[in-house]
Symmetry: C2
Subunit: 440 residues, 2 copies
Amino acid sequence: MSKKTVINIGLCGFGTVGQGVWKHLSRTRAELESRLGVGLEIRSIAVRNPRRKRTVKIPVRKLAADALAIANDPKIDIVCELMGGTDLAREITLTALQAGKVVVSANKALICAHGAEIFATARKHGGHFFFEASVAGGVPIIKALREGLVANRFPHIYGILNGTCNYILTQMEERDEAYASVLAEAKDLGYAEADEALDVQGWDAAHKAAVLAWLAHGIWVHPDQMIVEGIERITPADFKNATTLGFGIKLLAIITRDFATNELSVRVHPTLLPEGNVIANVSGVFNAISVTGDVVGTTLYIGKGAGQDATASAVISDIADAVALLRNGKGVHLTSEVVLPTGGHVKLAPLEHIRGRYYLRLTVKDEPGVLAQVASVMAKHHVSIASVIQSSAEAAGTASLVLTTHESHERAMRGTLRQLSRLRSVVDQPLLLRISDFNA
Amino acid sequence: MSKKTVINIGLCGFGTVGQGVWKHLSRTRAELESRLGVGLEIRSIAVRNPRRKRTVKIPVRKLAADALAIANDPKIDIVCELMGGTDLAREITLTALQAGKVVVSANKALICAHGAEIFATARKHGGHFFFEASVAGGVPIIKALREGLVANRFPHIYGILNGTCNYILTQMEERDEAYASVLAEAKDLGYAEADEALDVQGWDAAHKAAVLAWLAHGIWVHPDQMIVEGIERITPADFKNATTLGFGIKLLAIITRDFATNELSVRVHPTLLPEGNVIANVSGVFNAISVTGDVVGTTLYIGKGAGQDATASAVISDIADAVALLRNGKGVHLTSEVVLPTGGHVKLAPLEHIRGRYYLRLTVKDEPGVLAQVASVMAKHHVSIASVIQSSAEAAGTASLVLTTHESHERAMRGTLRQLSRLRSVVDQPLLLRISDFNA
């Protein structure tokens, strides 16, 4: 392959990320070309409305309305699917892979929903699928897990995978402000989407956790097989209680595998983390991932998890990897799907094997005997109480009861919650948070 | 290449790291082979004394006394140089590269001294040189810089690159203990070498900084072109003063490039870091590196920087990358030297362009007029004083004077130090620490 070879790139989608890729690829093109030894050209850009005014100026001849045509265009080597969604995005991805192209994607929802099909299609047709931008923005966590830590099995991977939630939680804690008002402000600042549900209910983090779990353990765990809980019911009082107990609160994705039993659990929920833990101190829109390998020990990766520039950085690194792959011929490549661990014998852990300590906040009627009732429900489920903080709640005649438990498990806590919420003296739906003992 | 292909590996050196590679490769071989699609065999191990008893049991037929024979053996595909030193290690590395082999190395001193020759030899003969284990142990920082962050230029890279120094500093601070006694203990625990000079004087970190600077900026900066200062003169009192000022003290390697002037500075010295900085809170034998890219922003990488297992994890990841390279044919590969940025126009920053704030500790005679003398020396060099802490020093009749400065530069501080140490009232050699404003 001569130095004059040009690799042609098609962008499907030209929103925030697409414009970022255009901007940074244009700026660094000369240097990248010299480093990679090829020419790089963004040949075609599919946009929903070609006539729309954009801050990024691109030649009109490059604009196309039909993303599928880019996936089918024999002149295009690398297709960047940056449109989001799971319908047209899936069609474009599969079409490009069937044509033996390299697809670069930032679309965790797509990978989570159709990953098995996408990788099977790539394998069958000699296409390749790169997705560094799908988790933790510009932090090269996919590359670290798949290549840098290839000697390892992973008993624990956990971290902050959603910058929006981390921004909201950080602001709530620092300013002692309620969830709703911080959320409204985050929307104004563009840190939260107009429809925030995917972020604040934990689904976006669950999509990313599914990608990491697959990379580390070779099986697809869908969000409906995970415990997924969001941050909407956390209050400033929870932060104060957590501080009293020596913890911070983070929305964590946690992927744990017991290699003795081969049981895997993947979950996303607000978690009390010891104050000294580095990840407990990662604030704002940053993501942070702790990866414990059986050989390397614990390694940490921290950086901006989203945004135009960080995501473009990851997409461009995938383009560079794709160029190396194309230059070497489309043989089997380390960064393709064949080097994943085989998840054959892994099974999902039943709820009674997902163990930990818990933080339980109840709003109860301020009357005698309530603590006794609560304690007896917990005792019935063999949940042992470690500490109790009682304080007056906002509504008159009610009190806030915060209990922490000794080690118990998800099954027992579900039973406990169900029965507690049926008590006449428990006013509101109980809030359950998990307590983590991760130190790093 | 059929599934039955066997990749033959030779280990030159069978000390801590070599035995770690043997141990972990043996344990994970079946899984790695299935992921990589080849057989992996450690065919030959060069040891200094084949008859020595070892805790790791290896077949006698694999033992060899001649490391050069391994580098020359046409049956060996991958040579792991794990012996250290820069003489025989250089010969083995060059010989293997001349034979077109892949060399995997953890030897930062070798790379720092002979990197240009090594990479030129690899280029000329179609060999390849992998060195993930040379910086930050098992943390895949080389891969992150070279591949994951390929879209970026790097205005700042800094971090803790020597776990021994970080262990000593952490213990001194936590236990309010003197350098010498913590060092002695670190030797007993195996955290420090019998000859500690390379670590505590900053040279080991400087070797690693040279590797990172080359990766990021494409030029070789030798330690004698850097500012390199060690941790030997830091006292528990310095930690107390730093705490008073809102800082921790870390031995940092700092690589800064000004892209407007193309000036690069690489230095290793104890540094006051703001208490809230994540890296200021990384304690013990861990390494931590902050990489600021112009596209991705700041990303952080933390993990164990040394030790048998962490280093073996990195060596095995290089072996896996080498296998992918060998399976794809020895064409030009993204992870080889050709994708480095070209450092053509980069030049080293002169001392007057290396700017920052400073912490200066003087032991002075406890008599009138001393502060005036010190202040007038500083004024003469246009160094502006920001704060003064005076306390009694250990020796009778002396006082400890700690001054912090407003922004100044290395040239001015050298002049200041020289003149201060000539003052009759300054009893001991002044101690200069740098103050960093890095927040992440």
